[in-house]
Symmetry: D3
Subunit: 302 residues, 6 copies
């Protein structure tokens, strides 16, 4: 009987979040272990199907670094890196597009469909979703690496309303039809902004944003983030993620979370429980206490 009551409590705990997010769009950047480990893949697909069933509108943007590397190796293309970015010539871009759009994207679609969902995979070229242009890294041309010029979210909105889960490969093109590979966190952030998403969730392979003592920081304001980046407390691959998070908030996204994709059902738990699984970046200090008791309780939990 206690087990029954505990079950009821979980459902009741989830209730206010179901209400708050019903009909709202949640953009999830999907990548890392959650895209490679079979059990985590299963959990992710179940979570996405559950969200859609409950009337939320998940939109997935995926990356694909490791798979691209493997494919390039296989065809014998050697990659040169410049300031951490893969220098992407036309031959490389051809492979990138095939791997992201033909292999990974359709694999995610199939995974969701196998668990009862109905997904449609597109790239940023479909429906003019992403207009891109060349990204110079500190003034250096690294080839077909792009930045987002404009998001035209019409195709996502149509698929979303028609009951499909849109799955987006992070490729865009310019007016001449040249394709660009774009960082998936950036695409997720830009798409979330264009859709006016209620939430952006970035799945990572770390517990969240840690402080210098490696302790998880459950809340950081945009201000905190920028100070810690400047101070070097946030470094490496987390820096661009934090920038995407701050951009999204400033661009009107409701909430942004950097969470641990290695936890089973991380997406579900982030959305439907009071104690989340990572770091929430918030607009300003009051946000923590204010209109969201989730924040308070999570803060207390630490």
């Amino acid at each position: 009987m206690d087990a029954l009551i505990a079950k009821a409590e979980v459902l009741l705990e989830a209730l206010p979040y179901m209400q708050r997010f019903a009909g709202r769009t949640i953009v999830v950047k999907y990548g890392g272990s959650a895209m490679l480990d079979e059990e985590l893949k299963l959990g992710f697909a179940q979570d996405i199907v559950l969200l859609k069933s409950l009337g939320l509108h998940p939109v997935i943007v995926h990356g694909g670094g490791p798979q691209i590397g493997k494919a390039l190796e296989r065809v014998g293309i050697e990659t040169r890196f410049e300031r951490g970015m893969r220098v992407t010539d036309d031959a490389t871009m051809e492979i990138v597009e095939m791997v992201l759009g033909g292999q990974i994207n359709k694999g995610i679609v199939a995974n969701i469909e196998r668990h009862g969902g109905n997904a449609v995979g597109i790239s940023g070229k479909d429906g003019n979703l992403i207009n891109a242009s060349k990204l110079l890294i500190d003034g250096v041309d690294v080839g077909r690496v792009g930045k987002v010029e404009k998001v035209n979210p019409d195709v996502i909105e149509r698929l979303r309303e028609a009951g499909f889960v849109p799955v987006v490969a992070p490729i865009g093109d310019d007016e001449t039809g040249h394709s660009f590979n774009i960082n998936a966190d950036v695409v997720a952030s830009e798409v979330a902004q264009a859709l006016g998403a209620a939430k952006l969730i970035l799945l990572t392979d770390v517990p969240g944003i840690l402080d210098r003592d490696a302790v998880l920081q459950p809340f950081l304001t945009i201000e905190d983030c920028r100070q810690q980046v400047e101070a070097g407390a946030i470094e490496g691959g987390m820096v661009p993620k934090v920038e995407c998070a701050c951009d999204a908030l400033e661009g009107g996204v409701g909430q942004v979370h950097i969470i641990d994709g290695r936890v089973s059902h991380a997406v579900l738990l982030e959305i439907f429980t009071k104690t989340g699984v990572g770091t929430e970046v918030v607009r300003d200090p009051q946000d923590e206490d204010q209109d969201d008791e989730q924040d308070d309780e999570q803060a207390e939990a630490d």
Copy 2:
């Protein structure tokens, strides 16, 4: 972390039921302890609000025996019972109508609204919901005790679609405007049939239908029920409930459950977990195994 995973599992267990019942109508006969005990009242209100939030359409039909008795006592009307039915003269009916429609009905509405829902209380006279006629008990006239002639569910459907939880007092009238008090189980069953409800749940103050050894029978076919009633294995107040259940199934209601209203969140658990809390009456033996894994697993659980 295990606690998190357990939470995710509860949510995932509920998923197929959320999907199956989204947009469907669930009629709940509300009465007994669940309507008197403060904690159970709270749980009931939370359950109903949760169901509505998830896109199900709960419709409540309530009784009110004990409160009616108290009110009659207070105004000094003595009640005579005939074959277990309160003989209801016009003066008594006036009190019955005031208690059911003015006190209990509005109390349930207020309880649901206090917990975030939006309910509207009506009687069977509103919107021509229930056309009634006199019920003779074994040929005996017990006054203003009625049976249902016709249910016109339009008012419920409109309230339901408009986002309200309809709460129905079991009173009907005939074309001349005479009111009748009708058994609430009967009203619940008839309303469920008229609405084409997916589920009818009768809240009782027993664990369900017990066998002669007082062991809960998780499944009974209509055939079983009728045999056990004839054999006297089902007796007393359970007999009319079982008849309502069988009528509902034969009238097109998807599933019928007689459950223990003394269990906290009994309604929620019945709907969203594999192991229910009472007896399901099923159309025929195959139903147990067939299109509903809930049945199988509950059977296994015993």
Copy 3:
């Protein structure tokens, strides 16, 4: 043949009013003789059904003073009055709610339905219609006597659009679920304002607002009303009615009439004929002559 032509003239006289009020909401405060006398009750029901048939949206708010008194007497509760208000303790309130919500409200519904209409009776607790708080009478606490804090007209609008005539009992509650008995004229005025009603009609047991020579004053401006109240020319029970009328006009209601409910079909005649049956309170002097020839002609008639 002359009789035929006279019939045609009545229909044609009504035409501009049918056009003007089609699709508009008319709030009627129903009480007094019109709610007690059988012939007047019949006429009232016919009028309401006719209005609805013609595409107007009547909304009824009813009182119930005499019936409440009788019921209290019957259960042996003695009433103390304080500054003309019934001191309403919790036991009294329980009876009030039962009488208003369970007896009178459903009686009006049944009366309308018996004459071909389709009504739904609710109290201010249903659909969160009326949020109330305690009303202090000159600083004196008279118990569960309330004032309107907020009207949420959604439930009325939904019922109205679905083809039902909403019938409202003047009870509200606060967030803790405490019920309050509220003056029905006040509820009618507040509901009319919240609905943006085209017309508010207050049925009384007098011919309208009389001057010191007991002559009916067919038109009074808000200014006139306030002067006559101050001067004592309007006194007694008419004072709060006049205040409700003025509030309604200032709150955006199109027209307000205080009419004689003892005239058969008073509501119908007020709406569909050039010469009304009582006093119209108007925003300012010009209103009399301006966009409404009804005004002119009635003025001439005197």
Copy 4:
């Protein structure tokens, strides 16, 4: 006060007819005195505007014999009659079309609009409304006199739904674009059938169908009509009218009335009062007593 009550009674008498015909189409054949006498023209326009205001959908089909004769005279075309039909050569037809479509039709439109309605005048050529072919009178070719091959009521339905009163000139054409003049009673009957009209009203210059003693026959069955035509009791211009009436009933029109257009507001009175103004042709004897109390009372009136 009695006058007031009488007014209320007229409105209440009209109520069931307003309800029955709301949203329904009423086809009126307009001609004779009602189209020539200024007072009757005014009354007709008022009636049509009132019907439209009340949510009925009047559709007018007009004739124009006298005006056509005058116009032909004016241009010096002599008319030969063959079996009561004007022999219509091409030159004559040109004038017919100009008079019916350019003069009479637009005059009716203007009359309705001057009284607050919104009408649109069309001929059977507009929107492919009437496909016609040559009508041989007892095998004799009388030129451009046509019969209806097919009614395509789309244009009327669109105008009707858009809030306009359609006014139809009785002209049709064939696929080669040849115009034909068609009897207006026939067009009214065919249009009523194509629209599934609730009522067809033929305005005439007689009190209705009289018996041999010149007494009005308030009801005639189709059978009666045919017998009286055969027996010569119905003769002259009434014969084709009676045929149109019978055709309409057999073609699904709800009710057909042949009424006296010389009575002011004849259309209004026919529709909204218990005692009509002419003869109703009914499908069979039972129709008189059955679902229409108007019938009974009119029968009694005689």
Copy 5:
């Protein structure tokens, strides 16, 4: 094969214009040779049907000078002209209305329908389309010659949306029901403005606006037009046409063309090819080069 490619090129040339004008309204003033010559009539009907098929919304306003003259002659009415305007007494107006509304209008409708279209002919009296008043010519009263006071385009919009081609006779009336004959160019310009038309095309019997050397001027700004009128370079019947064109542009019509109705399919070619068939009046000089390559190429062609 070359012929095939040429065909494809024509279709492709038309594409951008199909896209630009899809769902837009094109008002065509129809008159002159295009309304008299059988081959041109055929071509015009085909063009209109094609436009409607492609999702454009053509609206036709027609004149009728020559036919009116002939009809007046026939009935023996002598016409006096005053400053180029026919003095229109009541008898004349009666004929004008019959010819325009009963003959010409229905003839155009029949022509369009014979070629697969679906047209509805109305005058400015239908649906209160055109409210008119007397036009004084240099202060002289020439009878029932009117100017447009107000266009209420509702009836056109409804017919247009319902799939019909509206055909408008240039007659209006005032509130007392007096009819006025109005210049068809003026009606076309006013209707185009009221509809927010994308294009107004005036069919004439000249190649367009010529300069003093009788060379077609493919583009003229409003400014140019006014200077040339003042300078007498534009004279005669072209002056009022040019004024209508300028009014239309200033009243919000997208483009205005004065074209040669003697060219087969002139309307089609104006809309769907780069090189038009007449003069386009443009708001200001830049318009020629700007957002419309049609302009440039036509300019080059000369």
Copy 6:
């Protein structure tokens, strides 16, 4: 001027086809030279954009044989052919999916978008479009080569209605998520059937179906086709195409054409001109002469 008239004639010739196919779905199998030659690619994109602009709904299914071969070569996978089919092991399938779904599909999308259209590329895995199973070739397992089990056209219909041109890669999967490469002609035929397409056009690199004297056969009945296949007159790669054509017709597709993709704008010309560019397969002999004058004239042309 003659050139203008010729232009008008082309537009008018196209008119009946525009009308017939407006709102209808046209499935085009795209492949061969038309997908490789830059000029033909341009023409194809223009044609598709034009069709969509005109309100037709083109759906593209593409192949990709040559490109797959090149990609396999590049990664060093050697292909074995068995009865003309590429034996497709898992490694090969991975490449196939990447090339079809990631490279070719997105290239077609980009080509259409560059010319003003709005396309979305999907594979048969998206939206559960194509459920596939293993295809045995004469009982021989050639790996991941599939046949269509079921087409669920929902995703195409949604994209189509939302204004996008769906572009489909011929890949399907089974319930376990295994992908299969399917013949693109077969996918086009099955998709056309599932969509109830008005037309299926198969682009080839031959003029159509030739007879033994290499003369184009403009019409063949299903019966003709089957006889010529049996007789060996149709052979090689044309055999399965002809089977797809016959299947499509028998499955309800309106018309099926096998045309020469090497002709510029072949799709446009096939749809909008009387003389097509290839062979039409028709249900039975009468079809040639009957409801399609295109047939007659093409027949005459030979």
